[in-house]
Amino acid sequence: MAMIFEAAAAQTAGQLPGATEPGSGGNAGQAIGRMWKAIRSNGKALTGSVLLALFVLLALFPWAIAKDNPSAEIYKPTLGPSTAHLFGTTSYGQDIFAQAVWGTRETLIIAVVSGVLSTILSVIMGLAAGYLGGAWDSVLNFITDVLLVVPTFPLLIIIVAYLPKVGVPGLIAVLVITGYSYGARQLRAQTLSVRSRDYLEAARVRGERRFYVIMVEIIPSMTSLIVATFLGTAVYNVLAAAGLQFLGFGDPSSVSWGTMLYWAENNEALQTGQYLWAIVPGALIALLGAAFVLINYAFDEISNPALARVPITRTRQLNPILRRLGANRSG
């Protein structure tokens, strides 16, 4: 618990006005160092971070890894895997490996941007409802609850079906509006529980304005929940976006894992033996989702000591550390 708070505190304290005086915050370098140490010591976090880092690299520098143009239909179609084409080619003569690598960018952009925007919306709606209470709470909560109750994926399909050809921005907008409600609900609940903490009342009694209390006193203490919301939303959005693209919404001429699946399905890839065309994008989607989930687990473990796995000893069998401890106690 301490590490997350220290990290969050150091980061936020360094960026907020009025808190930059010495003695009230660490510097960003120290905070990152602490988080890095926390990640390194936890297997799940490490795996997830490494995976995510790999994907980020692919998204940033696709040309370094895949030399081919992913959309160019210049190769012999339906080739199997070979040294020239690691995953083979599509029915249109495109290199699947190049598509997979270049497609990372669009998928990751969708995941991250929609995750961030959705989280921001969750924070605003959830925190405001929880802290301001009264009429604000009723109105904001009502909107959130309505969106929560409606099944998200069918709603997505309906909205996208009626909108004109939407590209990535449209997809992101739709994902954000339909997906923020879950996080908002959680943040509202957490705000309600934190609201009665004495330090918030103490801040009001010393004369702080309500806006300040929300921004400076409440948000930093909910950092781990906000991060968890972001990670959870990102996972869901990756899957939802891929799902929508697979169904043909979104722009089929763009290159992403979801559109790969769309074209694979259209050309009956699995039935015609072109397994890799369908499996590769599917596996990559799963891996990206797994990366986010692992990091999410790790954050939970880091911030909640009760979840950490601990070696259990029974009296019959003292573990070596305790035997030494026993030996050191004289008498």
Partner: protein
């Protein structure tokens, strides 16, 4: 008790809450018609059990709640006259509050200096950043948090409960207050640590000239630290006066009950058949009459219809009990 004008005075202070919904709407009389005063350089203890209204009074004085009726006068001026933000800030710096729970009264995410420096920025804007730090160090030393520089840089979880409460007092002190509202500041601390905080309060009164309203449920600590004692029951004042007077000759049956229930290892235990069970006070739609009458062995018929006023029974010693006011000897518990 000084004859000088009191620092803070309340007149008929009342606060009700509406509870229940729809047809079953009831009124909870948290505080009813409380008139008290706190002078300069004095520690006044406000003692009572849960449901007595003592915490509500703290919040009324800290302006967290508005009163349903009655008025609070600070240095002669009514609080309802404070309109602008500047006026409110000025009041808040004159009458700050120290909270009960050392584990939740400081934001765990920031260093301990955060709240202090914010207070200083809000209430003493004339200070520069360096001066604010110097002031923070100065008050930390006064409350015994040394080395001040090092402690300022710690996070709350690195300090003990007692140290955190001292931080609370330091924050209050930094605003150069006239009156500190201390809401059960030692209840959640270990017994051996409490004395240190109680001694600190005495020191603040003597050396810094600050008055303190010490809210507690522990009469023994009230005796140790306070000059005057106010005993509350069910939202009303039962008895008030100099602390030694009230404790050595309590006139209100409730005060006597409280005194008899305090565990005293040196005295023998007296158990009689009528040992009071500790019934919660009736504050929902109470109606007229004394609110203690159901538990009082001396209740007379008038107690059910006349709400006893707070009257002076001996110099500076008031009690709200019809039986005591009639001159009879009150020996209830």
């Amino acid at each position: 008790m000084t004859d000088a004008a009191p620092v803070l005075r309340t007149e008929g202070l009342t606060r009700h809450f509406q509870i229940g919904g729809g047809l079953k709407r009831k009124t909870l009389h948290a505080v009813d018609d409380v008139s008290l005063q706190i002078g300069e350089r004095e520690i006044v203890a406000l003692a009572g059990e849960s449901g007595s209204g003592k915490s509500t009074i703290a919040r009324l004085l800290a302006r967290v709640y508005r009163p349903t009726a009655g008025e609070v006068y600070f240095q002669g001026r009514p609080l309802s006259g404070l309109r602008s933000r500047a006026d409110m800030l000025s009041y808040r710096s004159d009458v700050p509050m120290v909270f009960q729970d050392p584990f939740s009264s400081i934001n765990p995410v920031f260093r301990v200096s955060h709240g202090m420096l914010r207070s200083l920025k809000l209430h003493r804007p004339e200070l520069s950043a360096a001066e604010r730090l110097a002031e923070a160090r100065r008050v930390f030393e006064i409350v015994g948090l040394t080395p001040a520089e090092e402690t300022l840089n710690r996070f709350p979880h690195e300090l003990s409960g007692g140290q955190r409460q001292r931080v609370g007092f330091a924050q209050a002190l930094a605003m150069r207050p006239k009156l500190i509202l201390a809401d059960e500041p030692v209840s959640m601390l270990d017994v051996s640590i409490r004395i240190g905080l109680l001694n600190l309060m005495k020191k603040l009164r003597d050396e810094q000239g600050v008055s303190i309203l010490y809210i507690t449920h522990d009469i023994a600590s009230a005796r140790y630290v306070a000059d005057r004692l106010i005993v509350m029951y069910a939202g009303q004042i039962a008895e008030t006066g100099p602390v030694e007077d009230v404790l050595s000759s309590p006139r209100h049956p409730y005060t006597q009950l409280l005194l008899s229930a305090v565990p005293d290892p040196k005295a023998d235990l007296s158990i009689d058949a009528n040992t009071d069970r500790g019934e919660p006070p009736r504050v929902i739609n109470p109606g007229p009459g004394c609110r203690f009458r159901w538990r009082c062995p001396l209740a007379i018929t008038d107690c059910a219809s006349i709400t006893p006023p707070l009257l002076e029974l001996s110099p500076d010693h008031d009690a709200a009990c019809l039986v005591a006011q009639s001159g009879a000897e009150v020996k209830a518990f």
